[in-house]
């Protein structure tokens, strides 16, 4: 019934559009390829207001002009992507009837991660009838959040319920002209989260821990917008340690964070998309644009990411430090195994006076994988007495993988101080033997050493996430030695 109403509403919306529309709105899947029609189809499916559609179309038309500007500077090798060969809208997948139909290997991994049975079913895409505790917990918390004035909902809903906020902030940190993938996202984004924390509120719970299992399948072109109003605080968790599969190879998410005066946003990600098989077949291409604006004075944005999945990771969560005394931090663990490639890092753009940034990056490569840290620290002319501290450590497992560090530092203010430290090390046979001699298996030994190597980053994760992330680190390196 609800689905029918939704469709009806969508159709009604379609009628208002100035331009023609040829794709059948009843269909659950848009045809292959990208065109204005597809953009309209997606917008219609979501019953979006006209301004939203106009924004998407503006982005789409701009994207067409970028045909020759697909980024090639990253240290990544992959065949040219045929954007007309992808699907840009598909309704959620058919559920599996029972746990018996789930790939046993996937269940094995869930078990190792210690994911509760109820969540396992949801993650694996099994149809669930019963109301689980975690779901009712989620509902309870949602109500509490509402009472406190927190807005936390799918962005597709926020477009309707809070158009003034969405209009004001969407694209204000990552404009539709930003880069090839971000522009594509603006045109075709499917859904994502919208968060608004009202003035002075310290959001008492981590957003999305309780909700992650209820999230719709919005993996491919996710769009997230988080606004922390003056003096507020929020910790947001994205992703999931459980391995996630997706039929769509191309992912291009955009995340925008806005911190006003004295506000703080802590954004933690665990990314574990399908990395492809040991020979590099399949696997997700993850081209993500994440950026936060410390718009107000004394504001703070802290990114923590644990990147273990995807065949290709292209991702630079950044901070624009506009407000005086604002702080940007970036903590990253990127693990590549087998044939995975990651080119990831951050940009810290210091504009305000006395702004501070800190970058801690831990790259781990095993197998035939390549791992690049790429970071920019830019100190603007007005950023008096600003400071940056960067530390990039690489750990190699085996001798067929690569680690690269590409730091860019640009300073236009002589009173600013930047510090950069970098190390590269290897897990030695002596270290492994030492651990084995104490009764650990190869895998326990690698896990112990690698977890020690990235401890500083994992510690910044919210408690329960940190424990899962540690296990994830071990699991992603299984089979990397011996």
């Amino acid at each position: 019934m609800a689905a029918n109403q939704e469709t009806a509403a969508a159709v009604k919306n379609v009628e208002q559009y100035k331009y023609g529309f040829v794709t059948d709105i009843e269909s659950d899947m848009a045809p292959k390829g990208l065109s204005e029609d597809i953009v309209r189809f997606i917008s219609a499916k979501k019953g979006e207001p006209e301004w939203m559609l106009e924004w998407r179309l503006k982005a789409y038309r701009y994207w067409l002009t970028l045909a020759d500007e697909e980024p090639t500077w990253a240290k990544l090798i992959y065949p040219k992507i045929d954007y007309q060969a992808s699907y840009y809208y598909a309704a959620p997948k058919q559920k599996l009837a029972s746990m018996d139909e789930v790939d046993p290997k996937l269940l094995e991994t869930y078990k190792k991660l210690g994911i509760p049975l109820a969540e396992q079913a949801i993650l694996a895409g099994v149809a669930v009838d019963a109301v689980f505790d975690s779901v009712s917990v989620a509902t309870t918390y949602k109500k509490k959040l509402e009472e406190m004035g927190v807005i936390f909902k799918p962005i597709s809903e926020a477009v309707h319920s809070h158009p003034e906020l969405v209009k004001k902030y969407l694209g204000s940190v990552v404009p539709y002209t930003d880069n090839f993938y971000a522009t594509l996202n603006c045109a075709v984004f499917t859904d994502g989260s919208f968060v608004y924390i009202p003035k002075g509120l310290r959001c008492p719970m981590e957003l999305s821990t309780y909700f992650r299992i209820n999230e719709k399948n919005t993996g491919q072109f996710e769009r997230t917008l988080i606004v922390a109003d003056e003096g507020s605080y929020v910790s947001y968790l994205e992703g999931c340690t459980a391995p996630q599969r997706d039929e769509n190879q191309l992912h291009a998410a955009v995340v925008e964070l806005i911190a006003l005066d004295d506000a703080e946003i802590k954004y933690s990600t665990v990314q574990n998309w399908y990395p492809g098989d040991a020979d590099g077949r399949g696997g997700i291409y993850n081209f993500v644009t994440k950026r936060g604006a410390c718009r107000g004075k004394n504001s703070k944005i802290m990114w923590t990411q644990v990147e273990t999945g995807s065949a290709i990771t292209w991702k630079y969560p950044s901070c624009i430090l506009q407000g005086d005394n604002s702080v940007g931090e970036f903590y990253s663990v990127a693990i590549t195994n087998n044939r995975q490639q990651a080119d990831t890092g951050t940009k810290m753009i210091h504009l305000g006076a006395n702004t501070r940034s800190k970058i801690i990056s831990k790259g781990i490569s095993a197998g035939h994988a390549d791992n690049t840290y790429r970071g920019l620290v830019r100190i603007g002319a007005k950023a008096d007495k600003s400071r940056n501290y960067t530390q990039c450590d690489s750990l190699l497992i085996g001798d067929k993988c690569g680690a690269h560090t590409v730091p860019y530092i640009e300073s236009r203010n002589p009173s600013a101080v930047t510090e950069h430290e970098a190390t590269t090390s290897k897990i030695s046979d002596d270290q492994l033997f030492y651990c084995l001699q104490r009764g650990m298996t190869q895998e326990e030994a690698v896990s112990l050493i690698v977890n020690g190597f990235c401890k500083e980053v994992l510690q910044t994760l919210p408690m329960e996430f940190a424990v899962e992330a540690q296990k994830l680190v071990s699991i992603s390196l299984e089979g990397s030695v011996g």
């Binding site: 030695s428 002596d430 104490r438 009764g439 326990e444």
Partner: protein, 251 residues
């Protein structure tokens, strides 16, 4: 049956034969000391027993309780109860001594079908063991062996031994680099583990250690073989006369 039995063991490193027929039997409860010139193969013997890669065993056997040790992987040997206190313990950056100890202890417990140690119990145990070895408790918060002084590294080896309570402990020059007080403390640590069902193989260059850890047997390893065996008096004799006699005899 001997607890650890080494029979006619031949082993080479990088194509060069180092052990040329070592035979040795450690009965339960015994402490054996091995002395011998530099480069004669004492560490090679310990590494071969512990299962380090890069050593080729060309002949002979090593048996633990009659079980073929050489057929086991290094970690299996450790879980079966073979412990090696390294001559040169490696540094493991980022891994706290405490995390390392806990992982090792749990590996052993799991193999024995026991459940993992809980945090409180672990802390109590470490506290007790570090105190006994005169180590500051805070030491376990530091990365294993990283920045440890020579003597601290050796103490950390003994700490691991007393935590893991192996069946056979091989101490490869654990006394070198220890100051006089440390030597006593470490020896006390070893002596406290002496038990009817446990055996020790103590490699040392100094007879002084054997004043503290009194051995049942002393062996001279020279030219890849046990060139002589005797009681504690053999160590005193070696100290006085050196190894010349054995080197010439074996050559």
């Amino acid at each position: 049956m001997a607890l650890l039995e080494i029979k006619n063991l031949h082993a080479s490193v990088a194509g060069k034969e180092i052990l040329k027929g070592v035979t040795l039997a450690l009965e339960p409860g015994e402490v054996h000391a091995i002395m011998g010139p530099n480069g004669t193969g004492k560490s090679t013997l310990s590494n071969v027993i512990a299962g380090r890669e890069g050593y080729e065993v060309t002949k002979g056997q090593v048996l633990l309780d009659g079980e073929d040790v050489l057929a086991m992987a290094a970690d299996e040997r450790a879980r079966a109860g073979i412990f090696l206190a390294f001559q040169y313990p490696v540094e493991i950056p980022g891994v706290t001594t405490s995390a390392f100890l806990k992982t090792a202890l749990n590996a052993k417990r799991r193999a024995a079908g026991e459940k993992e140690i809980d945090a409180m119990e672990f802390m109590k145990l470490v506290k007790k063991k570090t105190e006994a070895l005169g180590m500051p408790y805070d030491m376990i918060k530091r990365a294993l062996n990283v920045g440890f002084s020579g003597g601290e590294k050796k103490r950390a080896e003994v700490l691991q031994m007393t935590m893991l309570e192996p069946r056979v402990a091989i101490l490869d020059e654990t006394d070198s680099g220890l100051d006089i007080d440390a030597l006593r403390v470490v020896s006390d640590g070893v002596n406290s583990l002496r038990a009817p069902d446990r055996a020790f193989l103590v490699i040392t260059h100094y007879q002084r250690l054997l004043d503290y850890i009194v051995p049942d047997h002393v062996h001279v390893l020279a030219n890849g073989r046990i060139a002589a065996s005797g009681g504690k008096e053999l160590a005193l004799e070696l100290e006085a006369e050196g190894y010349a006699k054995y080197l010439n005899a074996a050559a």
